[in-house]
């Protein structure tokens, strides 16, 4: 099977979606001839025209509202934010309008839009261009929130998102755009709301998101040599959460760790911990639940500080080791 980068996989999904459905169109800043800040849209404007690959003025709030209106009136817009941090400018339309219109109107409308957010740290873009705000949006009923971690997943989940009758927020880690992986050529969908066991193990369940899936897999390989067998679950979707898969895993391993880049406090790990603690898996826990998340600070500029602000492989290894060896 041929390999694509994560960014190329997104582009292919967008193209195939536009091929299949004439109501799908793209909007964002610099997504036309510039090709997108992260070169995701690339040459799509040349293939689909400016009407379907629309450069918008720097008006995130306006763009989000336009997406809502277009979705209400029969289109399927895919809005690209240049940085996930700019979601803050559009929060009114995302949270008060897109998420709630179906409900407020008694189920008589739906808002089939997709918003894509390049997110996360590691590029030296500093505090206002490096955030992981997915937990904010996962807190809002009416939205769906996904974080695909591989090229194959991002293509399948993005196609599913575009198909979805409800608003879907897609968080793409910037450091993943160049990641290569096998991607099937034909269009396919990966269901939203289903986690994936990326690595089976017996001693501890790690639930990770986005780039932390890969760091957790690296940690698992290191721990394997110490006789610690780590199961890594790629959560994939933050709303809705696939609690059942996590419960099954914890019942097998008796230990749970959550690894995520968003700030640790009130992040996705807090929700997963609580869900497991209030589920039947509680009686299978043989240790406290460990969360490894982002530091309680904005993302620093200095590269070492930037790394230290989010979980890294050595920290994950040590945390899991302590957890499994009964030192927590």
């Amino acid at each position: 099977m041929r390999e694509l980068t994560y960014a190329q996989a997104i582009q292919e999904a967008l193209a195939q979606a536009m091929d299949a459905d004439p109501t799908v169109f793209l909007m964002g800043e610099d997504i036309g001839v510039y090709g997108g800040a992260f070169q995701v849209t690339g040459d799509l404007v040349h293939r689909y025209g400016e009407d379907r690959v629309m450069d918008a003025p720097i008006s995130e709030l306006g763009q989000a509202g336009v997406a809502v209106g277009a979705a209400l009136a029969g289109c399927r817009p895919v809005l690209e934010f240049q940085f996930s941090d700019f979601a803050t400018l559009a929060m009114e339309q995302i949270v008060n309008q897109a998420a709630k219109l179906r409900f407020m109107l008694g189920g008589k409308v739906n808002v089939p839009l997709v918003m894509r957010f390049p997110a996360g740290s590691g590029t030296g873009a500093a505090a206002q261009h490096s955030q992981s705000l997915e937990a904010w949006l996962a807190h809002v009923p009416g939205l769906k929130v996904i974080q695909p971690s591989t090229p194959a997943d991002v293509k399948g989940m993005l196609l599913a998102a575009i198909d979805d009758p409800d608003p879907v927020m897609v968080f793409e880690h910037k450091l993943l755009y160049k990641m290569k992986g096998e991607v099937p050529e034909e269009p396919y969908r990966i269901a939203i709301g289903k986690a994936h066991v990326a690595r089976e193990g017996r001693d501890v369940t790690v639930v990770a998101t986005s780039i932390m899936v890969h760091k957790s897999l690296e940690a698992a390989t290191i721990l394997d040599a110490e006789g610690i067998d780590v199961e890594v679950i790629d959560l994939r979707t933050l709303r809705p959460i696939d609690t059942a898969t996590i419960i099954d895993s914890v019942k097998k391993t008796s230990r749970l760790a959550c690894v995520y880049e968003g700030v640790k406090t009130l992040g996705i790990g807090a929700e997963i911990s609580a869900r497991i603690a209030e589920s039947e898996a509680f009686d299978y826990l043989d240790a406290p639940i460990l969360r490894l998340g982002g530091a309680e600070s904005p993302i620093p500029y200095n590269p070492e500080l930037e790394k230290a602000a989010v979980p890294q492989v050595p920290g994950i290894v040590e945390g899991l080791r302590n957890l499994v060896r009964g030192r927590m």
């Binding site: 008796s254 509680f282 009686d283 299978y284 826990l285 043989d286 240790a287 009964g326 030192r327 927590m328």
Partner: protein, 420 residues
């Protein structure tokens, strides 16, 4: 205000009492101090007097029924006082209350774990579930996790073999580290944390001493014949493939076998108190105390009465080694129908041992001491050892204990009798 008629505690170990007879019925006028009802005890029935004069009403515990000590069994109303509906009778207390220095003992078939040191044992949810499934009281399991937390591994070590009649572990007496440290000059001591084994020993033996009515019987055994027999048996041991003798019997091996055989001869002593019944064991399983670093284990030789001396000897060596390496599995140290504790190697001539529930007896073996003993009126130098048998008077009465010890002594003095 109606006056409660409570079921009083009349015996030291009493948790509940059965009312065997009411001297009055509902509506009777009773005088203060008059005999109201009788409580059945294992000695004689106890008459209970009316705490006040008035009309007896709302008898909630009738003849033949039990109530917890301190609960109301009836009320005495003043003349003309309105009668309230009776409160339902309190259910018999199942488990010991929180720690006090004079505990109300639990019946042996007690309900689940009470606190240790006044605090619930720390255990993971999985550990609790496994313990619950195995019928093990969580508080009886030593915890190896941080801060003494009991983990699933600890429960699995404690194992599924524990018999269901193991009583709940009652609390150790309240001794707080802080209050004790205050009694000593600061800097004059080191604080050693208490581990699971120590905690278990403390709890179990405290319970035993406080709840089991111990009595003690001593006997002195002349070892002349036994020692000669042992020498002959050891001398005739065939050599194994490695050139070493197949066995080397110790005096202790004889003691184990003698005790097992004695129990076989006196089955009334091979019992366990089970609260509302007595278990009559069918085999003699002899536990043998083995000192280990920081504590002790009592591995059990099962069916010792049916095993040869050499089998017992080999098993004992293996179990002792495992005990010292802390590698015993629960099936190797749980249960037992008696136990032997030998401090002879330290020169202790005589001592009394604390019974390990659920056993009803334990034999404390002292050192072999050279003495002049009368033989046919002449002083003869002989080796003698003093053994003291502790008995649980609930299950083993004085005569039975004496019979057991007598049988044991006979087999020590003349080991050949073990063949008969």
């Amino acid at each position: 205000m109606a006056v409660e008629v409570i079921l009083p505690r009349v015996d030291m170990d009493m948790a509940t009492g059965k009312i065997s007879k009411w001297h009055h019925k509902d509506g009777d006028r009773v005088a203060k101090g008059a005999a109201l009802f009788e409580i059945e005890t294992d000695k004689a029935a106890m008459e209970i007097d009316a705490p006040a004069g008035g009309i007896l009403r709302n008898i909630v515990v009738t003849e033949g029924n039990s109530a917890p000590v301190g609960s109301a069994v009836a009320w005495i109303y003043a003349e003309g006082e309105a009668v309230a509906a009776p409160a339902p009778a309190a259910a018999p207390v199942a488990s010991a209350a929180a720690a006090t220095t004079t505990t109300t003992p639990a019946p042996v078939t007690a309900a689940p774990a009470a606190a240790t040191n006044g605090e619930a044992p720390r255990a993971t949810p999985l550990a609790r579930r496994l313990a619950r499934q195995a019928g093990l009281p969580i508080g009886s399991i030593p915890g190896s996790g941080p801060r003494g937390r009991i983990t699933a591994a600890d429960v699995r070590r404690a194992g599924e073999a524990k018999p269901a009649s193991v009583p709940a572990l009652p609390p150790a007496p309240v001794v707080s580290g802080d209050s004790v440290q205050k009694l000593y000059a600061p800097g004059s001591f080191d604080v050693i944390p208490v581990d699971g084994m120590r905690r278990t020993i403390a709890a179990r033996l405290t319970e035993s001493k406080q709840t089991v009515p111990h009595f003690y019987l001593s006997v002195t055994c002349t070892l002349t014949t036994l020692m000669a027999t042992r020498e002959r048996l050891n001398a005739s041991a065939p050599k194994g493939a490695d050139g070493r003798p197949l066995w080397k019997l110790s005096i202790n091996d004889f003691i184990i076998k003698a005790m097992a055989a004695a129990l076989h001869k006196v089955p009334a002593a091979n019992v366990t108190w089970a609260g509302d019944s007595i278990l009559q064991h069918r085999s003699s399983d002899v536990g043998v105390a083995v000192a280990v670093d920081g504590g002790l284990f009592t591995p059990v030789i099962r069916n010792a009465d049916a095993k040869t001396l050499t089998t017992i000897s080999a098993e004992m060596k293996e179990l002792a080694a495992k005990a010292r390496a802390r590698k015993l599995v629960p099936s190797e140290y749980q249960g037992g129908t008696t136990a032997i504790s030998n401090l002879g190697m330290y020169g202790i001539e005589q001592f009394t041992a604390i019974i390990n529930p659920p056993q009803a007896t334990i034999l404390a073996v002292g050192a072999a001491v050279e003495r002049f003993v009368p033989v046919n009126g002449q002083p003869v130098l002989a080796s003698q050892m003093t053994c003291t048998l502790s008995c649980d008077h609930r299950a083993v009465d004085g005569a039975v204990g004496a019979e057991l010890l007598q049988a044991f002594r006979q087999l020590i003095v003349e080991p050949l009798l073990m063949l008969a």
